[in-house]
């Protein structure tokens, strides 16, 4: 690589650095946060808009991001105790999924019903980003209310996959994953209810972590399914995920389901990765039939590397996982039908008046919800309302809760013989935009490998496993650990990542094709 300037601080280089590398350069004052933040804002301006743009961002927070960056730079320049006290990631910019509320920027949840709404309060994770003085680049696109696996259900148009602009970036957090994959942000926040962080990570060649349920506060994440939702990191490296997880995690008194104990040292786990003597369990039910051949091949490669590195590969069976998808599609819509009841046009957001007839509150609510929600949201509200109805509750919601318990027991049993479980993150690589839009069931099947972790509350990490032979698109490898053992994911993930990168000769994203209209990358590639 020919460096364009000796310090390696030209924009094209900067945006390709990991967050950990950026943090080191900022701390060493080789580069300023304003330079870094501006490089990302320029990149967003170059690749995100237009007909063939990535469309990862719904809102770009230029002014505030630069102000925070300048503040960090000023503190660093002044030196002393305040500079010493700066967080490791201070000055490293980040993008936030638009399901997470932020003061000073709109929050839409990807829905027309919240168009133009500004939250009067910050989500706890956003408050923690602010406390760490991380400039927030903007809000990223998502399937409406996080309901989808392709980001095509956004009311603001789909996000494109940087690997192939005609393909989906996964969902619901396609915006965050695509932003990170297209070097529009070094870090992003996502939310994962059934795979919305991990599956987009898999299909965009990035890293995504769904923490243990309760280890990151949900306060300020617009709820889809309260018992399943979890905020987590979206990054390009395992270490970056650990760094970000460490910033946003830990107890929050505003979230009753938040775990009381302090967070383990996840960054240390990522830095001292080791799999020697570790038992890694292949979940029999989560590979093979129904999984693309290229996905299966990359999965087997990963197993071979882990074995070489000294891990013991065992096979476990989780027989109840076959019911997980069905149970998920009862519990999630049930909770969602109740969580989304508040969007009624009475207090905030869109209000639509009926065209004729009496102007009663019921009819205003009805007209608002009819106009404000998209088809997938309506589908899930109807499904959930039905599942909770008197006479059906036991058969649907009640049975689904029983399956949930059985899935938890499968995990408990599996973790008696394995320290960490492993599977492909998604059964296929990125499909084409529009391909599954009219087939909800095919869309739902994308999450078959990620859903069990949400039902059981256990943590999961997806990292790039290479490219599928048949289509040259990224494949994701999923690691799962027992609840509260998120550190194991980082320990194993860091090892697997370094073995794979050694094999590839660099990060997988370096193999991504060029994006149109990107002078920064053109320069980089023209070397």
């Amino acid at each position: 690589m020919t460096e364009l300037n000796p310090a390696g601080t030209d924009a094209g280089t900067l945006i390709r650095l990991s967050a950990a590398q950026l943090a080191a350069k900022l701390a060493a004052r080789e580069v300023t946060s304003v330079e870094v933040t501006q490089a990302y804002l320029d990149r967003i301006a170059q690749v995100d808009g237009g007909d063939r743009g990535i469309n990862a961002f719904l809102h770009v927070n230029t002014e505030e991001a630069l102000a925070v960056a300048a503040e960090v730079d000023a503190i660093r320049a002044a030196g002393g105790a305040e500079a010493e006290a700066l967080h490791e990631l201070a000055g490293v910019p980040i993008a936030v999924k638009d399901l997470i509320v932020t003061v000073g920027q709109p929050t839409t949840a990807g829905s027309k019903i919240l168009e133009g709404w500004h939250s009067p309060y910050d989500a706890t994770v956003v408050a923690r980003l602010r406390a760490a003085k991380m400039p927030i680049l903007g809000k990223t696109n998502l399937d409406e209310f996080a309901m989808g696996s392709s980001t095509e259900h956004s009311a603001y148009g789909p996000t494109r996959n940087p690997w192939d602009l005609d393909r989906i970036p996964g969902g619901s957090g396609g915006g965050s994953a695509a932003a990170v994959a297209a070097f529009e942000a070094p870090l992003a926040l996502g939310t994962d209810t059934g795979g919305s962080i991990r599956q987009p990570g898999a299909v965009t060649g990035t890293v995504g972590v769904k923490p243990t349920y309760g280890s990151v506060s949900r306060y300020g994440a617009i709820a889809m399914a309260s018992s399943l939702d979890q905020i987590g990191p979206v990054t390009r490296t395992v270490l970056d995920s650990a760094l970000l997880h460490q910033v946003i995690g830990g107890h929050d008194p505003r979230d009753s389901t938040s775990l009381p104990e302090p967070l383990a040292d996840l960054v240390a786990a990522a830095r001292t990765g080791n799999v020697e003597g570790m038992r890694i369990g292949i979940i029999k039910e989560l590979h093979g039939e129904g999984y693309q051949a290229g996905v299966e091949n990359r999965f087997n490669d990963a197993l071979a590397l882990l074995k070489e590195a000294g891990a013991e590969i065992v096979e476990v069976s989780c027989p109840n996982f076959q019911y997980a998808l069905g149970a998920y599609y009862l519990i999630m819509p049930s909770e969602a039908s109740s969580n989304l009841a508040k969007f009624d046009g009475v207090r905030y957001g869109l209000r639509v008046l009926p065209e004729d007839g009496p102007m009663t509150i019921e009819r205003v609510m009805g007209a608002t919800r009819a106009a404000g929600f998209g088809d997938e949201v309506k589908r899930r509200i109807i499904l959930g309302t039905y599942a909770l109805s008197a006479g059906y509750y036991d058969a649907y919601y009640g049975s689904a809760q029983k399956v949930r318990t059985l899935v938890q027991r499968d995990f408990d049993a599996a973790f008696t013989v394995a320290d960490v479980l492993i599977s492909p993150t998604a059964p296929t690589t990125a499909f084409r935009l529009g391909e599954k839009l009219d087939d909800p069931l095919a869309m739902y099947l994308n999450d078959v490998a990620t859903i069990p972790a949400n039902l059981a509350g256990v943590p999961g990490l997806s990292l790039p496993g290479g490219l599928a032979d048949e289509d040259g698109l990224p494949v994701g490898i999923q690691l799962l650990a027992p609840a509260r053992e998120d550190a194991r994911l980082y320990r194993v993930g860091a090892v697997l990542e370094s073995l794979l990168e050694a094999k590839w000769g660099g990060p997988l994203l370096a193999q991504a094709p060029e994006l149109a209209g990107s002078p920064a990358l053109d320069t980089q590639e023209a070397k």
């Binding site: 939250s119 979230d255 009753s256 509150i361 609510m365 509750y393």
Partner: protein, 502 residues
Amino acid sequence: MSTDAILTFEEAMEKYDPVLGFEVHVELNTKTKMFSSAPNVFGDEPNTNVNEVDLGMPGVLPVLNRAAVESSIKIGLALNCKIAEACRFARKNYFYPDTPKNFQTSQYDEPIAYDGYLDVELSDGTVFRVEIERAHMEEDAGKLTHMGGATGRIQGADFSLVDYNRAGVPLVEIVTKPIEGAGSRAPELAKAYVAAVREIVKNLGVSDAKMERGNVRCDANVSLRPHGRERFGIRSETKNVNSLRAVEHAVRYEIQRHAAVLDSGIPVVQETRHWHEDTRTTTSGRPKSDADDYRYFPEPDLVPVVASREWVEELRATLPEPPAARRKRLQADWGYSDLEFRDVVNAGVMDEIEETIAAGASASVARKWWMGEIVGRAKNADVDPGQLGVEPATIVELSKMVEDGKINNKMATEVLDHVLAGEGTPAEIVEKRGLAVVSDDGPLLEAIDAALAAQPDVADKIRGGKVQAIGAIVGAVMKATRGQADTGRVRELIMERLGVNA
């Protein structure tokens, strides 16, 4: 609004046996709301005691108020209930703008307290045991004010205003088991039961317990069955009956109405009824049937409430003396006879008398004012005595003025009326209206001399030892001074004038 046919109460009782049931909502007086840190304060400007949680903003989560749980456990213990070791909240889903989330967070099938009882004393001292099914925690809804209509109800209104200050205020709902066997004392029992619940929560200090402010609200269920039949009849539920007298009246009215319906051969409609204080009748609300589907499910944003046995016992140890013991103690302290004390209890002014004594009045003065003056006024105004707005300090001030001879008793009761009319404190009223006992002996002596001169025969009788005749002279003097003289002093002066020893 059509008028329902009713039988007389006596006819109804001849033919039918009433079964009652009550749901009493108690607003807890915690500093903050059930699930948010917004203040729990009554009477402030609309929508000022709210934060993002109370408004159901996107992304918010509830956090359970520990003090509210403690209060709920105390209520459960005072009602002789079992306390659940672990219990959960549920969501009750329905679309209505008084509920910002369009669901109410409430306990459903796992109440914190269950299987208790309350012994209720009736006016003649009979004790009636009311079985308690459960006491559960929930959040209050906001308050809707329907504007533009004639009735203040939603029908015919042009628009509605909503105040979310009350949204999220912690409530405990106390539900009885069906109450059988009250017979013709059912209305009285209804009043006595609600009064007993109010007394308990007030005594515990967990609620301000002011019915006029909605701190204690009663839904009264009534059904009738022919004498001798075991199966219950179809019930009506009269909502928000918010004074003790209204509870008694509403139950009586519903018994009379049900009896007329049953007599006509038509089944009673299972429905909610609205109570109208002005006409003392109920009107049909909405049909309440099992078809109401609230799609209850466990609230996933809250973890189960775990009440360790140690915690429950700690709370039990802090409970104040039970009402029965308290009554016994108060009666002894105040030195009232059994009859006097029962009258006080039945009139519903025991707490008021206690407060008045605490404010500095003697037990006999407090009783004299409440039983002799205020209870009668409340009856005329058709409200509970406590709702008249008489402050203990007012009574203390009035009685002090009488003792000091500044005003006499007759004037004091007039001053009370002026206080109730909102004219100010007793001192201000006495000052403003120039009410003062004539204490300068000069004008009194003139009046006495005039009276004695006008009635020489009476004067002679008194001189001759018939002291009881003095009333005629005193009366004349009082008349002459327009009631502003102290009768005691007038009597003394007359005796002095006539040279008679008192």
